[in-house]
Symmetry: C2
Subunit: 326 residues, 2 copies
């Protein structure tokens, strides 16, 4: 292989340039059928660009191509994995799935704490408990043990208590208590000069132990003390805001997450939520609510939006899951 | 009824004086058979002394008798209740039993926090969870919710986390971690001038999330840093000491509790532990260990000691339960 060779190769008439190929791995997932046809027609020299060469062999100019190539192969592999991962996640028992998602979130650190909140607050008490059981057998630790060991920041108290919760799910709500706790939250959220709300013991107590219906009642009473919605007063306290949303309007939370994941230029952590949310919520009665909320909020059908952003098998699979509730 | 009447009554030859009767309701429970024979022989005037009279009717001297009488009737009722309560507790499903014991402990406040620790730390993860489930259906709240609402002192963090725990119960223990956490505990226990150990976040984290085997390993490694046993260094931190004992040597903990309950002059809260411990541990494989530990520590058989202190049906019932494991 000689320096300069790829310049000629790229110029072969009738063959696709790497830049054309790139457009076929754009978006989420792989457009398998067009990829098959393109790769099948590639010249041998072009095919070599899909394998990793010895870097030192190339001139500066070739390295440019090589870098494109490496990045491209990584992306190809990554996009192939998207379909595989979705299939694997879907096949897992929901408890194992949540246990593995929690473990992965702990591995990733702060940027993924939201996944812990999502698992702890949008599942039913029994589902969360199932995830804790699965976590024992998979990882030889309890989930709260790992959260407590790995998280050192101010989020620790909230997150440990959230994953340990086993909330009451009956209909009983004591309105007077809900009202007085709405006041407690309001005072804590508004007192920006004092303790941060996430470090306020009463805030953590209320959000981590009260039933979802009770929290809903709190959000209603909150309007007696504030002109804004309870989550609006938390715009700078993302984890608390997310906790509240997950607890009392999960469909709003999920729609927002899906919207971010489907946006142009989203980073990979944000992108990954697409698979996670669609797969975990597909069997859930709330999928219908999520779709309604998404449509209302963003003026487009969730399925349509997914069709526009995702490719091939990955897209088809997601669309099948999204359509399950219909 | 005339002033002075009881003086005569008490003097009726052949009848028992109230002071004789008193000896028949001494000890725990009621000696039903001798009570039947005594009460059956009482004169009508004496029997009246078992009913509550109108206080104002009596002279000062009669009131003395009346007070004895009221106290005595209360004690009688109380000792009758001991057998009834033991039977009722025994008949309950263990989950319901623990849920009700926890509720009762919360009602009683600080002096009974130990019962919460006992339930949270001597049961298996699944048993504790069962109690949490039962608590939902019985009291329309989660147990951690009620603990968090009712307890405001420095014990809150520890107790909320203890009742929320779902500890890993597999065999895997990471010795290096256990060793480093033994050091953390040692530093916290010895630094008496700083934060109280119960307020130390790391102490609470370790005691509330680690598996029992891990805590056992910690207690072994602790000896590398201290000449004393881990619980000896906690003699002024009763709740932490009890937590540790319940977690890694429940038989030691239960023997101590039984010994206190069976001591002369124990107060009622301490006394009550007798029924609780015997009833809850009767079906437990550890009852045998508790008996061995008790015998070794106090030089007398647990059954013998119970025979000496308790009466009648209550005694017979406890002895039957204690003998179940043999």
């Amino acid at each position: 292989m000689k320096a300069g060779m790829f310049h000629e190769t790229r110029a072969i008439p009738g063959s696709r340039s790497p830049y054309e190929l790139e457009s076929n791995v754009a978006g989420l997932g792989i457009d398998e059928s067009s990829l098959i046809s393109i790769l099948g027609k590639l010249h041998p020299e072009q095919k070599q660009s899909f394998r990793k060469g010895t870097r030192d062999f190339f001139t500066e100019d070739d390295r440019l191509f090589e870098r494109w190539d490496e990045r491209h192969i990584a992306q190809l592999q990554h996009e192939f994995l998207r379909f595989k991962n979705a299939m694997v996640l879907w096949t897992m028992h929901p408890w194992e799935r949540d246990a593995r998602l929690a473990k992965e979130a702990l591995r990733k650190g702060q940027q993924a704490y939201g996944v812990l909140v999502e698992i702890a607050c949008t599942r039913s008490s029994e589902e969360l408990l199932g995830a804790r059981r699965a976590y024992h057998s998979l990882f030889d630790h309890s989930i709260e043990e790992d959260v407590a060991v790995h998280i050192h920041g101010i989020e620790r108290k909230l997150l440990v208590a959230l994953v340990s919760s086993y909330r009451y799910e009956g209909p009983r709500v004591h309105e007077e208590t809900a009202r007085s706790e709405a006041k407690i939250l309001h005072n804590a959220f508004k007192a920006a000069d004092k303790t941060k709300p996430i470090e306020d013991e009463e805030v953590v107590r209320i959000l981590t132990t009260r039933s979802k219906l009770h929290i809903k009642a709190i959000s209603t009473h909150y309007k007696e003390f504030s002109s804004s919605d309870i989550t609006e007063d938390l715009d700078t306290e993302l984890l608390l805001k997310q906790t509240l949303q997950c607890l009392y309007t999960p469909e709003t939370y999920f729609s927002t997450v899906l919207d971010s994941a489907l946006k142009d230029g989203a980073d990979e952590t944000t992108r990954e939520a697409l698979t996670r949310v669609i797969v975990t919520e597909a069997n859930n009665v709330d999928m219908k609510k999520i779709k309604e909320e998404y449509h209302q909020k963003y003026g487009v059908d969730l399925s349509e939006k997914i069709s526009g952003v995702a490719n091939g098998n990955y897209r088809d699979f997601l669309l099948t899951l999204v359509a399950r509730g219909d």
